[in-house]
Structures are given as structure tokens and as C-alpha cells.
Amino acid sequence: MKLITAVIKPFKLDDVKAALQAYGVHGLTITEASGYGRQRGHTEVYRGAEYQVDLVPKVRVEVLCEDEDADDLIGVMVKAAQTGRIGDGKVWSVPVETVVRVRTGERGPDAI
């Protein structure tokens, strides 16, 4: 099993959710996050004053899936989250040892 994490632009959340649903993913976790990547935030000039925005608001999406679905899911999420501009975010996956559904106690792939 794999845990796929995506950090994306907030307004892309609806697109990513729709794409995951279309693929057949039923559950996901959303967190409001802030951070920066290679662009190190950005500087804006407004009415003569400079504003330094160091931490850019992002949304963090987490999905559990079976090993064989991971690559496809990453592809689906990247496609849905892409605008082609700086700050589009990242998607990565890590292996998962155990998953248990709290309500029923089911384990492993059945719990996903």
C-alpha cells in the first residue's frame, strides 16, 4: 500500500477532488498548509510599499491506495493540479505498512 501526498494550490482542490472521484477514490484527507518551494515565497509591490509573502497558502491532500494504483493516481493528481506556473506544488508517495479501519477493524487493502 502507498500513501500519496500532494501539496497543491488551494483553488485546484475542487479539480483534484473531482479527478480522484472519477478515478474511484472514495476517501481523502485535506489539510490547510503553508510553505514555500524553489520560489521562496514572492515579493509584491502594492501602492509603493513592498510586501514580502514568505509562506504561500497551500492545500495538502492525502490519499491511501494499493501499490498498483499509485502511479496512475499520481498522474491523475498532477494533471488536475497543473496550471504550468510557479508554485503549482508537489506530489509524492511513500510505502505504508498497515492500515486499519477503526469502525470494523478490517486490515490491509480491505481497509482502504
Binding site: 494550490k9 488551494p10 475542487d14 501602492r47 509573502v53 496550471t83 506556473r85
Partner: protein
């Protein structure tokens, strides 16, 4: 009605059953008694209540066996038992050291055995309670405050704790406890009815869930409502809100009486009366009406007294509220003084909430704003919200009060905050219906059409910024252009930004955080950059009669009603010295308009007395003329007055001073946003004068308790300020003058 009687009857029946059972268990045993305390003592046994029982004895032998004979069968029955075995002196000693035990003993009731023992305990416990009343009541009050902090307010929470929340059952027990100390009257019929309603709800909650629960969670509300014969959970919450408000209000009043008892024993000084506003004074930590007040002839008095109370962060005395109910209805549209008072009330921030609450309990809010009725006590089914609609609106206005420096129109911000969800009382999209209702209310308040439109637009679009900021691509110019099309002015954009923050903060922790704030602020910056700069307010042109006065050249001063006109050859310091003279006569400057006509300065003030009757106009005019001729020391007079001025009760946001570029080519525009205070214009003007600046023109506006002042200033050579250090120093000294 029938169901309600059946709940009370059910509790009494259960109590009687348990009484009989315990009496059988005790049998005919001499020199002992079984005493019911707490809820059982009050005959309020709910299906899952625990039994609070004291086995009272006189020190005889074999008491342990008697106790076993009673406790074991009770335990075996599965009932929750809270038990104690004590002699009368032991029970009194424990009660003296433990508030909870002492409160339980106040409702002690004889169940079985020797009634004399019980009577001795009851009398002894009451005697101890009364003897230690000052400290006990203070502990009781502290416990109440602690509970309120932890459990919140029953009336406004969507999942309230019926027992512990403010306005819940414990508060009524507290009132009874204060009454037992002979400090305040016992709960009246209104409070008793409210108590029964909350108790019945708890009763039904036990029955429906089969568990001893105090918190009325969302998923149980519909079933509990049906169990007490109500249509659904919404109706239930509305009933509870009404009941809890009655209780909370009564408990506050009771504690004030209890505190006063303590205060009097400590201080022993006569109650002082201190004027707060016209016909409104402070006495003994409460706001009351002055002796000269005539509610029957003074429709604005309700709002004026409420504003004074909120600004001083003091409660309105209950008898004052009764008298305020005699005020005739306000004329529609409202006079300006009523609007100003409403703004001063809302602008007080957190302290406005309890004052508003007091007005609402007496039905005074719906008398002012009939549309309020539809959102009153209205619950909302939404996981983000934690308050009922009406409380959410008041909380939003209180949060908006902290943001008044962020907007050019603090008055419209406060009104828009108060009305932004008013549409939730009507079917359909609440932003759309709300805009219509808010427009009606704005017109009722007598606001001019452009302001009404701005408020309606703010209500219509109050969700726009947070929604777009979190769901749309801010880098896309189309997004920003679309928002700019809906929000065509900076005034509206500022309003919406501040409203979004206040709304989010008042909704609950899930609705607003740094994450969202950053996104919304980013959107606002981008939209603002697209919008053209708003023109800074300029001095109004003079009327023909004022121009005529100017042609004479002065010096002259006239006072006509609330309008004061000062004409003199232009020289530095004229405006603020004249403002100082007015302040020394206890006249508050509502607006000032200073212009210069060919070397003659014409300043027109709109003034009103701070309180009491207006001063003699000939005296004011005389002082103004003496000032113009240099024969009056204004400063000395004001210094003396400032030392006697009452300190502010409520915390206000820090003032803001900005130098606006590009507003004028020949002068620098200084914009001051601050909380109004006596002599403010005089202090700001003097600070500008001390910086060597000349005020060429000015426009001063008081919006409720807030002022927005614009000064057109030049340096000694009549040129705008360009030197960076000097600009900074100017801002610094104006701020220092505002802080003093």
C-alpha cells in the same frame, strides 16, 4: 402544555418511589435519618440522575451496618449513588470547607428516620451559609465565571451543555443559593418557567439516549424536541435560547447584588454618580438614568444609555432597563443622534455584546429594528458555526469594532457587520435576501442613499472574498477583474475585507485562521491595485451667508443652534484653538469644515453638548471672540478639564495616522482615524502646529464613536511636506498627541 406537566409529574413520581424504597430499607431505626440533597433533594430525579443521599446519625453505634443495609441494595439496583454517612456537626464542617457540599445541603430534604436530625442539619447549614455569605457568594460567583468560560453560553451555542453552560440549570441553583443568604430575591416566575423548560429538555435527553447526558448534541436534538412535544430541533433550540437568556440575565443581576453586599462591607462609602452621557450616569458600577431623565419624552435615550454603558464597559441596571421600555418608539427615519448612539454602542467592541443582550431581553432591540425578530434565537445547522444567528451578528459587530481603523467608513462597517446575516431569517440565498433587508434597515436608520447602497452591497457580497480567495486562481487576471467588477470601489473593498475577517472570527475557530487570512489579503491587494484611488474627502463649499461673513474679514464668531461659525484673518493655529474653546464648553465637535477665502479663514463647526443642556451661545461666542483677539488661554482651561475627564472603560483599537500622497498638489493630506474623545481636534491640531505646520483646510467627521479627520497642511513656506524625516516626525507627534 400537557407533555410538560407529565415530565414534572414523572420526576415527582420517581422521587416518591425512591423515597419509599429508601424508607423501607432504613426501617424503624432510632437516632438516624436519611436526607436527600442536590437534585434528589429538589425532587428532580431524572431517569438517569444519581442519588445524592446523606445518612445522618447522632454518633450512635452500629451505623456501618445500617449503611450497608441501605447502600448495597441501591448499588445492586444499578443506580448511581453519591453517599455519605455523617453526624450533624461533621456534615456542617465538611460543608464549610467545600462549596459543592454546602450548595447540596441548601436543598436538603428529609426522607426517612428521625425528622429532628434533618431539621437540625438544615437549620445549621443555612446558618453557616448566611454567616459566611460574603466569602461564599464570592466563591459562587467565581465558580459561575469559570463555568461560563469553560462551557460557553447555552443561549447561543448550537450544542449546549444544559447543566453547566451559562444560562443553564446550575445558574438557577446559584440564584437560589444567593437567595438563601437573604441577599437577593428567589427566582421569579419567569426564571422558574425557564428552569422547567431546560430541566424538561435534560429529562427528555436522558430518556431518548438512555444515558446521563448534559450536552444536547446535534444528532439528538430532533428526537428530544419531539419527546417534549415540539416540532423539531430548531424549535427546541429557540425555546432553550429564550429560557437561557432569561436565566443568564437573572443570575447576572443576582450576582451584582451579591457583589454589592461585599463591596459595601469593604468600602462603606456613599454611591457616587458620574455623568456618562446626556441624562445617563454611572452609579455603583451600573449605568442608570440621571434624575432629570425623561424616558417618555426621549426616544433616543435607549440607544444613548446603551452606548454609554458599552463605552464605559458597565452593565445597564435592571430598573433602568424597565424605565427605558417607557421610551416612545424612534421616529423613522432615525435622527442622526440615534444613529451615532448605535454606532458608539457597536463600536465599543466586546463590551457591546452584554449590553445588546440586556436590551434584547427587554424586547428593546426588536422595537428598534423589527427585522431582528426573524433572526432572534435562530439556530443554524452548520458545522462551522458555534452561535445562533443573532448572537453571531452581534459578535461580528464586536470583532468589526477592532477593525475600524482599516476602513474609510467605520460606521458602515459596524452596521454591515450587524446586518450581514440578517437574510438568514428569510427563505432563499441569505446574501441576496439580506441585501434587501439590510437596505430597508439602513433607510430606517436614516442613512443617505449612497450609504444604504454600500451597506446593501457589502451584505450581498460578504462571502465573496473568502470564497474567491480559496477557490479561484489569484494569478489569473480574470479572477481579479471579476471581483473588481462586483466591488467597484475601494470603500466597498475595504468594507468587505474587514467584514470577512470579523465574520470569520465570530463564526468559530474553523472559519478563520492565518491560512485563510493570507489568501484573502492577497486577493484584496490584487483587486485594490486594479481599482482607482478613492478621492480624499475635501472641504465642502461655503454657503452664501458664510461667504458674506467672510467678505467682512472678521474677526467674528456666531453660534446658531448646533452650528458655530468662526471668521478671522487666516493665521496658523486658528482651527484647533477654536476647537479648544468649544471643547472647554463641553461641546463635542461632530464635524468641522475649514476653508480659506482670500486670506480670511472660515471654519464651520457642527457641535452638540456632551451631556446636559447646551451652554449659553452668547458665552461661547464671547469666548471665541476673546480667543481670536488673543485674550483667552485655551490650553490652561483644557488641561484642567482633561485632568477631570473620566478614563475610558473599553479598549479601543490604536489610532492610525497616514499621509496620503497625490490627494492634493499644493498641500499634504494628513488622515487621522481614531476613537473620539473630548478635545481630540484640539489635540491633533496643536500637534500639527507644534510641527510648524499650517492647517489650510480640514474636514472632520465623527461617525458614532469614531472620527475620521482629514487635514490639508503646508509647511512654513506654504509648500507640501516632502522631507522624509519631517513626514515621519509629523506622524509621530500626532500619534503622541492622540495617546496623551
Amino acid at each position: 402544555m400537557e407533555t410538560i406537566t407529565s415530565f414534572a409529574a414523572d420526576r415527582a413520581r420517581r422521587t416518591n418511589q425512591v423515597d419509599r424504597w429508601l424508607a423501607e430499607l432504613l426501617g424503624a431505626e432510632p437516632r438516624v435519618a436519611l436526607v436527600a440533597v442536590g437534585g434528589y433533594g429538589r425532587r428532580e430525579l431524572l431517569p438517569r440522575s444519581d442519588l445524592d443521599v446523606v445518612l445522618l446519625h447522632d454518633g450512635r453505634d452500629g451505623i456501618a451496618d445500617i449503611a450497608d443495609r441501605i447502600w448495597y441494595p441501591v448499588w445492586d439496583s444499578g443506580a448511581e449513588l453519591d453517599h455519605a454517612v455523617r453526624t450533624v456537626p461533621q456534615a456542617r464542617r465538611v460543608a464549610r470547607n467545600d462549596l459543592k457540599v454546602a450548595l447540596g445541603l441548601l436543598s436538603a430534604r428529609h426522607v426517612a428516620g428521625d425528622p429532628d436530625l434533618t431539621e437540625r442539619l438544615r437549620e445549621g447549614a443555612l446558618e453557616d451559609w448566611r454567616a459566611a455569605a460574603p466569602t461564599r457568594l464570592a466563591e459562587l460567583h467565581a465558580a459561575h465565571d469559570e463555568r461560563a468560560k469553560m462551557f460557553g453560553e447555552l443561549a447561543f451555542l448550537l450544542e449546549p451543555d444544559l447543566k453547566e453552560a451559562r444560562g443553564g440549570l446550575r445558574d438557577v441553583h446559584a440564584i437560589q443559593a444567593v437567595a438563601a443568604a437573604w441577599v437577593a430575591p428567589a427566582p421569579g416566575p419567569k426564571v422558574r418557567t425557564a428552569y422547567e423548560q431546560v430541566l424538561d429538555t435534560r429529562h427528555a435527553l436522558h430518556e431518548v439516549t438512555g444515558r446521563r447526558l448534559d450536552r444536547l448534541v446535534l444528532e439528538e436534538q430532533d428526537e428530544v424536541a419531539r419527546a417534549i412535544g415540539l416540532l423539531d430541533g430548531d424549535v427546541l433550540l429557540r425555546m432553550l435560547a429564550g429560557a437561557a437568556r432569561t436565566i443568564a440575565y437573572a443570575v447576572d443581576h443576582t450576582f451584582r447584588q451579591a457583589d454589592r453586599l461585599r463591596g459595601r462591607r469593604l468600602r462603606r462609602r456613599p454611591a457616587e454618580r458620574r455623568p456618562l452621557a446626556d441624562a445617563v450616569v454611572e452609579q455603583d458600577g451600573e449605568v442608570v438614568l440621571a434624575r432629570a431623565a425623561e424616558p417618555a419624552d426621549d426616544p433616543v435615550l435607549v440607544l444613548r444609555a446603551a452606548a454609554a454603558a458599552a463605552q464605559a464597559a458597565l452593565p445597564l441596571a435592571p430598573r433602568t432597563l424597565d424605565r427605558l421600555a417607557e421610551c416612545p418608539p424612534l421616529a423613522v427615519p432615525w435622527p442622526a443622534s440615534a444613529r451615532d448612539a448605535l454606532l458608539a454602542l457597536l463600536g465599543a467592541g466586546p463590551s457591546a455584546v452584554s449590553v445588546w443582550e440586556a436590551l434584547d431581553t427587554e424586547g428593546l432591540v426588536t422595537a428598534l429594528i423589527p427585522d431582528w425578530e426573524r433572526v432572534r434565537n435562530r439556530p443554524q445547522r452548520n458545522p462551522l458555526h458555534k452561535f445562533t444567528v443573532d448572537r453571531h451578528l452581534v459578535e461580528t459587530a464586536a470583532h468589526a469594532a477592532a477593525l475600524t481603523r482599516e476602513v474609510a467608513r467605520p460606521d458602515l462597517l459596524l452596521i454591515a457587520a450587524l446586518l450581514h446575516d440578517i437574510g438568514k431569517g428569510w427563505p432563499g440565498d441569505h446574501s441576496v435576501t439580506g441585501a434587501v433587508v439590510a437596505g430597508d434597515v439602513g433607510r430606517r436608520m436614516g442613512l443617505p442613499d449612497p450609504d444604504v447602497e454600500l451597506i446593501a452591497a457589502a451584505v450581498r457580497h460578504h462571502l465573496l472574498l473568502p470564497m474567491v480567495a480559496t477557490r479561484r486562481d489569484l494569478d489569473d487576471p480574470v479572477t481579479v477583474r471579476q471581483v473588481a467588477a462586483l466591488v467597484p470601489s475601494r470603500a466597498l473593498l475595504e468594507l468587505l475585507h474587514a467584514l470577512a475577517i470579523a465574520d470569520g472570527l465570530a463564526t468559530g475557530p474553523a472559519a478563520w485562521n492565518d491560512w485563510k487570512a493570507t489568501l484573502v489579503a492577497d486577493l484584496v491587494r490584487r483587486v485594490a491595485a486594479v481599482l482607482d484611488g478613492e478621492p480624499t474627502p475635501e472641504p465642502a463649499p461655503l454657503r452664501a451667508d458664510q461667504l458674506e461673513l467672510a467678505a467682512d474679514g472678521g474677526p467674528a464668531a456666531t453660534v446658531r443652534g448646533s452650528e458655530v461659525t468662526v471668521v478671522a484673518p487666516d493665521r496658523p493655529g486658528l482651527l484647533w484653538r477654536a476647537a479648544g474653546v468649544l471643547a472647554s464648553h463641553r461641546l463635542a465637535v461632530r464635524s468641522a469644515n475649514a476653508t480659506s477665502v482670500q486670506g480670511t479663514a472660515v471654519t464651520v463647526f457642527d457641535v452638540e453638548p456632551e451631556f446636559g443642556d447646551p451652554p449659553d451661545p452668547t458665552l461661547v461666542a464671547g469666548d471665541l471672540r476673546r480667543m481670536l483677539l488673543g485674550r483667552l488661554d485655551v490650553e490652561d482651561r483644557l488641561e484642567r478639564r482633561a485632568r477631570a475627564a473620566p478614563p475610558h472603560g473599553t479598549r479601543v483599537p490604536a489610532p492610525r495616522v497616514t499621509l496620503v500622497d497625490g490627494a492634493s498638489e499644493t498641500a499634504t493630506v494628513v488622515e487621522v482615524r481614531a476613537h473620539d474623545a473630548p478635545g481630540l481636534l484640539w489635540r491633533v491640531g496643536r500637534a500639527l502646529g507644534e510641527c510648524g505646520l499650517n492647517v489650510r483646510a480640514a474636514r472632520v467627521e465623527t461617525l458614532g464613536a469614531e472620527v475620521v479627520d482629514v487635514f490639508y497642511v503646508t509647511d512654513e513656506d506654504g509648500a507640501p511636506l516632502t522631507d522624509r524625516d519631517r513626514r515621519r516626525a509629523t506622524i509621530g507627534s500626532v500619534l503622541a498627541a492622540l495617546a496623551s
